[in-house]
């Protein structure tokens, strides 16, 4: 697994160039961006809950990836690597925000104690407000549950990759996901 790229890593100063820096060819980076940006943006948006901030994060993640591509060893998928950068970046943003604001996230134990029927389908009548309802639901969950749900929703990620990204075992991921789903359904029904 490549060493995680910390967002607050110092970025080396650009080398002195006598000629203007050449831009990367548009084709490959565009392909890379088009393939992964939807997922990076979505993870950022639903993690921080602010479209403008999610926009900044997505931009910074791809810029960071460009600068640190030499750290990508290919041992994990590129999507996983981009997610690692995104998660670090979101955590830094949230930490900075929490310093200025006192917030309380959901209590996992309290949520676990309440039974929710996760077998029945999640019914949605008001599609127009669905995004807001999902956001509100996710914000009521503990950070870890929110992250696990967002990652497992990406079909390209295996449980092992999610475990690596969240620094725990696959079994722990499975157990927590079970509780996270239950907590989500409970909150989602509350917000209907």
């Amino acid at each position: 697994m490549p060493a995680p790229v910390k967002y607050d890593d110092p970025v080396s100063a650009p080398e002195m160039a006598t000629t203007p820096p050449a831009a990367p060819a548009p084709g490959p980076w565009q392909a890379l961006y088009e393939q992964h940006s939807r997922y990076v943006y979505y993870l950022a948006l639903r993690t921080v809950g602010d479209p403008a901030l999610a926009e900044d994060i997505t931009h910074d993640v791809f810029l960071k990836a460009y600068r640190h591509l030499d750290q990508f060893r290919g041992q994990s998928g590129l999507r996983t690597w981009l997610y690692r950068i995104t998660i670090n970046h979101c955590q830094n943003v949230q930490r900075a925000w929490q310093k200025r604001n006192i917030i309380s996230t959901g209590d996992p134990q309290a949520l676990d104690a309440v039974a929710a029927n996760t077998d029945s389908p999640l019914r949605v009548l008001e599609i127009k407000e669905l995004g807001q309802r999902i956001q509100k639901t996710l914000e009521a969950l503990p950070d870890e549950y929110r992250l696990l749900l967002l990652l497992v929703a990406d079909e390209n990620l295996s449980y092992q990759e999610i475990a690596t990204l969240t620094e725990q075992s696959s079994d722990a991921v499975r157990g927590k996901l079970h509780r996270a789903r239950r907590a989500f359904v409970l909150e989602f029904q509350k917000n209907s």
Binding site: P26, L32, R38, F62, L63, A153, E155, R181
Partner: protein, 79 residues
Amino acid sequence: MNPDTPKQRLQHRQLEEQTAEQQQTTGQQAGLAFDSVEELLRYDNLQTAPPPAIAERLRISLEQEPKPKRSWWHRLFGK
């Protein structure tokens, strides 16, 4: 009773507009059912496209970056 009085024409038009609005709203509110949280989130993801402005900002930012010693896309795509 004359159905073509201005008042009745107005009422008729209002009724038509109201019906059209209701039909539109019904279409927007077509119910969906998701078998799992993941399915719901995938649907949400599909509805949530990144704003095009990000790609443009990124393009400008990348233009200002120094050229990597080895083309990153060659490394990435094995060319």
